[in-house]
Structures are given as structure tokens and as C-alpha cells.
Symmetry: C2
Subunit: 428 residues, 2 copies
């Protein structure tokens, strides 16, 4: 088989955005995407909560998200592609301590044009039938829950359809002449010397070596440049060639509860936060249980991103755990929103985060003709466009990427060797 200019591993939203941006800069180049699944975005992209927020403590994360969301807005409003992008907003319910931690972050972002509104707890209690005062509740005390002290509402945030975003990039990439091969599992990299001598056993350590393609379930695919965008599978593939990426896989679970009861319907379709008349994506005080409204389906998605002792573990088919909802999420949820009393999920799913354990930012770097794009740490959908543009700029050896809207981004800031990011304090 002849050599491709680029082979991209992973047809998730990050891989497809990268493929599209590389191909659109190089219409004549042969760019191939491979994925073990049989369609676009069937891995962790499909298991995402599909929400977005232009709120991060780090300026880099904010910029990645803000410019990507601007692009998705343009795609939906100007190109007429329905991404189901809906600005329902994010509502952070904060304990007094959390509010104290959040304030300086908000002040900093406000200077960067971020709009937000603060809500008094009495107003929220009335609007959402929120139970904000838990002091004195013995169960809440055992659960370690705190009173809601204040709410912070972010209007530039909301929900989107991850599948539609992945398919948008797929279609555009194919339209430009990009190639995709589904059902192809990558087993490892081909490593060859830069200057082959024809001696068996090459490369030896005194030879410069490079990644020259991938070994797959359907044979070897050679490429001038290999792009690894396989999400949670990135570290496993990189370990085999001794490259560190600071990414760890971790299971994340989402439980879907129907808004059957009147009180739940009333909660889901709360008016006054946004033009669609829907409750915002809501974050409870620590432990931060997440409520993602799904108004078109009359459903809530409930989740929690657990830390210790949840394993860093790669699983081919991660499963949601019944007890994680029953003894975990439900117990916390029902204290703040008694509307959920006796409500159990009718379905659930689990995917893998690809967590950057260094600083909570994506990595985009190149070593030995291998470009690594990943580590979005649970916010890949909302940053995919910017990440793809940065990867494409790296592919072209450019110092700066131009993100949607014209803002410039120094490519090496997301590298490993010359990394330059602040630690993210608002990971959820």
C-alpha cells in the first residue's frame, strides 16, 4: 500500500476536527482517519455529557472552549448545520467556601469579557424549588453536604450534540477528499530508522528513528506523519514506544432519569434562565453532582466525576454501576432537589475520560513524526475545534495557530517540552 501523507488514529471529535483542519489546509494531501468502530464518534465522544461552558480558571482552557463554541455557533447559525447547540447556561451552586474560591476566578475572567450573574440563594430556592439549607439535616451531615450559599450563572454555556459535532467534521473532511476507514483497530506503531541501513533489527539506539505508520488489524499503513487522537487509548499506545503524555484513562458514568413527575417537569422546564425555558446545566456544591438537562427528550442526565479511589483503568466497554447512582448520586441529589425522590434511571452509560494529570489541559505535541492530540480531560467536545486547529498548525510547523474568531495561540504552549499553562482549578 502506498504511503499516506497523514494517518490519524481515532475518529472521535478530536481526531475528526484535527483531520478536517489538516485536510482543509492541504487539499491535495492524502489524509486517512482510522477507527476501530464502524462510524464517527462512537468511542468516548458518544459517552460524553455533551455540554459546554466558556468558564475555566485557566486562560488557555477558556480560550480553547470560547473559540470552539464560537465556531460551533457559526456552523449552526450561518452554515445551517444543526448541532443542537443550545445556550441553556451553567448554574454553579456554591457553598460559602466554594464561592470564596470561585470569586477571584470570575473577577479575572470578567476582565476578559466573561459575562456571569450571581444569584441569591432565596431566588434560586424559589425558581428551582431548591433545598438550599441543609444545616440540621442529619443525613446531609453524614453525606458531608453544605448549604448552598450563592449561585453563579454563566450564559455562554449549555448543551450540544456530540454526535452532530463529530459528524459535521466527518462530512466536511470527506467532502474535501479525506479518507476514513472504519473497523480498523490500531495495534501499534511502526518505528523505522530515519536513514535505514537495511540491517535486520533496525533501528538501533545510535540511529535516529521515527514513527512511520501503524500496524492495524488489516495490515500496515505507512504515513509521513502519524497523528494519535485515540483519547483514553493514547497512553497505552505511547507506552509501547516510551513516550510520556501525562494522560490517564478514567471511567465516567452518566445516568438518565425521565422527567415524568410534575415536579421534575417543572424543574426541567424552569423559565427565566435562558430563552429556551429550560433549567441550566447545574453543578451542586461539593461533591459536585452534575445535572445536565435534556429538554427535547424530557430527561435529566446525572453524573459525578469521582476521584480517589476510582482507578485509572482502560476498559474496552466500561459499564455504569447501579450503586454509583443509588448510593452515590441519588443520595446527594435528593437533598438539594427533593423532586428526585424515588426517581431511578431508566438508562445509563459510561465512557472514559482521558485525563491530563499534569494540569488539566490538552496536550498537542510532536515527537519523531508522531503528533499526539489528546488529554482534554472531559472537556473535549467543547474544545475540539481549537484543538484541531492547533494540531494542524503543529503539523505545518507554525509557531502560532489562529483559532476561530482570529485569536492567536502559541502552539508550543500545549506541548510537553515547552508547556506553558496555568493549572486548571475548575475541572468537573
Amino acid at each position: 500500500m502506498s504511503e499516506y501523507d497523514v494517518v490519524i488514529i481515532g475518529a472521535g471529535v478530536i481526531g475528526l476536527s484535527t483531520a478536517y483542519h489538516i485536510k482543509s489546509r492541504h487539499p491535495a494531501s492524502r489524509v486517512l482517519v482510522v477507527d476501530k468502530f464502524n462510524a464517527a464518534g462512537q468511542g468516548s465522544t458518544a459517552k460524553s455529557m455533551s455540554a459546554f461552558r466558556c468558564l475555566f480558571s485557566s486562560k488557555v482552557n477558556y480560550l480553547l472552549s470560547d473559540s470552539s463554541v464560537d465556531f460551533y455557533t457559526y456552523v449552526q447559525n450561518c452554515l445551517g448545520v444543526d448541532l443542537k447547540l443550545t445556550f441553556v447556561g451553567y448554574l454553579w451552586l456554591l457553598s460559602e467556601k466554594e464561592y470564596g474560591e470561585m470569586r477571584p476566578i470570575l473577577k479575572g475572567l470578567a476582565a476578559n469579557n466573561l459575562k456571569y450573574e450571581e444569584y441569591e440563594v432565596e431566588v434560586l430556592a424559589k425558581k428551582l424549588y431548591l433545598n438550599a439549607r441543609l444545616a440540621g439535616d442529619e443525613e446531609a451531615e453524614v453525606l458531608g453536604l453544605n448549604d448552598v450559599y450563592k449561585g453563579v450563572f454563566i450564559p455562554k454555556a449549555g448543551i450540544v450534540d456530540a454526535d452532530s459535532v463529530a459528524k459535521f467534521y466527518e462530512e466536511e473532511f470527506l467532502r474535501l477528499g479525506g479518507e476514513i476507514r472504519y473497523g480498523v483497530k490500531v495495534e501499534g506503531f511502526i518505528v523505522e530508522p530515519c536513514k535505514p541501513l537495511g540491517i535486520p533489527g533496525e533501528p538501533f539506539f545510535w540511529q535516529e528513528a521515527r514513527v512511520s505508520g501503524v500496524k492495524t488489524s488489516v495490515g500496515v499503513i505507512n504515513a509521513k506523519k502519524t497523528v494519535l487522537a485515540a483519547g483514553a487509548w493514547i497512553p497505552q499506545l505511547l507506552d509501547a514506544v516510551g513516550i510520556e503524555c501525562f494522560i490517564k484513562p478514567k471511567k465516567r458514568q452518566v445516568f438518565a432519569v425521565e422527567a415524568k413527575k410534575l415536579e421534575l417537569k417543572r424543574l426541567l422546564y424552569t423559565e427565566g434562565f435562558n430563552p429556551v425555558g429550560c433549567m441550566p446545566f447545574t453543578i451542586l456544591p461539593r461533591p459536585r453532582v452534575l445535572i445536565r438537562p435534556f429538554p427535547t427528550e424530557s430527561v435529566f442526565w446525572l453524573s459525578y466525576a469521582d476521584d480517589f479511589p476510582r482507578a485509572f483503568r482502560l476498559e474496552e466497554d466500561p459499564q455504569p454501576e447501579k450503586n454509583f447512582y443509588e448510593y452515590g448520586i441519588y443520595q446527594v441529589l435528593v437533598k438539594y432537589f427533593p423532586q428526585f425522590r424515588d426517581c431511578h434511571p431508566y438508562s445509563a452509560f459510561a465512557g472514559l475520560y482521558e485525563i491530563n494529570t499534569l494540569d488539566g489541559h490538552p496536550v498537542v505535541f510532536e515527537e519523531n513524526d508522531l503528533i499526539v492530540v489528546g488529554g482534554a480531560s472531559g472537556s473535549g467536545i467543547m474544545k475540539a475545534d481549537a484543538i484541531g486547529r492547533i494540531a494542524a498548525a503543529l503539523y505545518d510547523g507554525e509557531e502560532y495557530a489562529v483559532l476561530y474568531g482570529g485569536r492567536k495561540f502559541k502552539v508550543s504552549d500545549l506541548s510537553i517540552r515547552e508547556r506553558h499553562v496555568e493549572r486548571e482549578n475548575l475541572q468537573i
Copy 2:
């Protein structure tokens, strides 16, 4: 079984130094060391090159090594324990480019009392029968080798017997009443809620949880504090509870060549560098093939620490690879030291480095009653005493550890959260 105050996983040199220093501060505490092998230092400690150098680009690494070597010197000279510590020195053979990189590091360390001598290449060529000029040699060009431009000799460096160091700590620890159980394989951690409620499935994510001991091949061992000092096995055990340590395992190989030929004997017993009349531990220009003299056995140990594409991989019984010597080390070695022409190893061994991929320094940190001590990145023997003292200070919640000789060290500088070290540029 009753609860131990401390259980330490790993009876390598780092685990035993830690055990000794904790026990010597707490003679009345029950401190247990467990190891899967049947004696002290049988893991990567036994597979080490057993050399030391008080030369690192980072002040932290220098201090860890310098104070540990001072302690070993005291043990051997004042306590009369033979650690086979011999100051043969380190000789770095540097290309012009490498010399340029090394100079500022040496100047910086000289201000910190480091003594070193520069050698002109002609002097070295005469003393060691070194072939310093490779320009024009076609094979050397293919190998990418450069002329030796200068030599830098570090007197405070040399060889030691890793086994004797491990056994010293073992004996002292046992003498103080410490307990060791060999042949016990740790399978994982016990995680329990800090405030148990007696509900099956605890801990739930809203509960604070802690490591309360280890599951082993001989049953559960409970402890108030668990210390993980299992070298290259650290990341595997930590992944299972979702704690990041920035350590990766990597195979390292050592090949033993006898000094049979007269020219090799003459090289091994080169006079003039040190009082024992032995060649120094010698580092060739890049790629940095290492020569470790073993004068009492009339042997050279040869090694090379390869990077890409050598895998990060955990292996129960890593094996040396014949071709790694024949097509790798030998080819480079014989260009600079033609005395090795036609010399092949009579034995070889392989172990695992526990590489800290963040900055090349050890990690010493505590999370949830679990203390992690490791990541010495191939220089564990020469830093083990300092690392053990820092871990013991962390166990006691002290801000500073006092290293041998009285120098103070801020414990959190080796932590993950408040880490404060410069990147190490002299890893070999």
C-alpha cells in the same frame, strides 16, 4: 491480625532506608516491610549498576546524592560496615557540543563546593588508550559518533555494592525491632472510609476515604500508614486507586565483559585517576554508553539507557537482549576503546528503572494515608539515604527533613502538589 503502625511495600534500597529511618524515629512503633522476593534488595536494586556520582544539574538531586554518599562513607569508615564503596570517580568524555552544555552546570556546582578536573583529550588518549578522534571514520559517521573534545573528572563519585547497602539498612532496621516478611506479594490496597458507616459498598464518593493497608498473597495487612516503595511497580499499584505519581517503568540492561586481554586489564587498572588504581566510571559521548569498572572481579559492566522507542513496560523478569550489546553498545564502545574489539559479554542482566517523567527527581508524597516513595530514575542507590530521611520526615508531618551532615531539605519539594525542583539535565 492486629493493625501495624506502618506497612512498607518493597524491601529494595529505598523501602529499607525508609523503614530504617521511620523505625529509628519511632522505636516503639510496629513497622513491617513486605516484599515478594525472599531477601532484601532482590528486585531492581540487585539489577543496578551500583555506581554513584555527586554530579547532577539540579541542586536537589545533587543534595540527595551528596548527603547519601556522605552517609555511606560514614557507615563504611566509622561504623566499619563494608559497603564496597570506592571513589573511583566518574569520567565524562564529552564532544565539543556536550562540553558546551556541561560547562555552565559545572560552574554552578563548583560554587557549591563540587570539585572536578578537566582533562585535555591528548592526556586521556595517552592514559586510557582512548581513540578520541573519529572524524573520517566511515563507520563512526554512520553511528553518528563525535570526537571526544574534553574529559571532565568528578572525584566524588564511584562504585558501591547495592546489595551491601540494602543489607545494611535491613540489619539496622531488624536490630531496632522492625519486622520483615519476605515472599509476600502485594495485590492491592485496602481502601476504607475514614468514618465507616457499616453500609456494604463503602466508601461512597461522598465519604472521605483512606488506604488502610494492603491485600497480599498471604491475606490482608492493616496499617495506620501504608508506604509504597515498590520501585517500577509503584504506578501499577497507584493506578488501581487513581493516584498519579508520574513514574514509568523501563528496562535497563547491563552486560559484563571480562578484562581477559592485556589491553583490557591495562584499561581497567589505569593508574592516576584515583588511589585504587582503576579506571573511573566512564561515560562516552552521545549516545552515552556507560563503562562501570569492577576491579575486584576484573570485569567491566557496560550499559546504555535507551530512550525512544524503548517501551515503558512492567515485566516480572526482564531479560537482557543479545543484539542490544552486539549491534548497540559494542559498535559504539569499540570505536572509542578499540581494546574491546571482539570482546563479548560472559553474562548480562536487566532490571527496571522507575523513571520520573516529570523532572527526573524522586517523588515523596502522601495521599489518603498512603505515602509514596520512588521515581529515583536510575539513581536510587546513591540517593536512598536522603530519600528515606525525607519519607520519614513526611511520616512525622515535619516541614523539613535533616539530611546526613545536617543539611535541611523541604519535604514538600518532592511532593506532587507543591513540587519544587529544577528539571534534571544530567540523567544517564
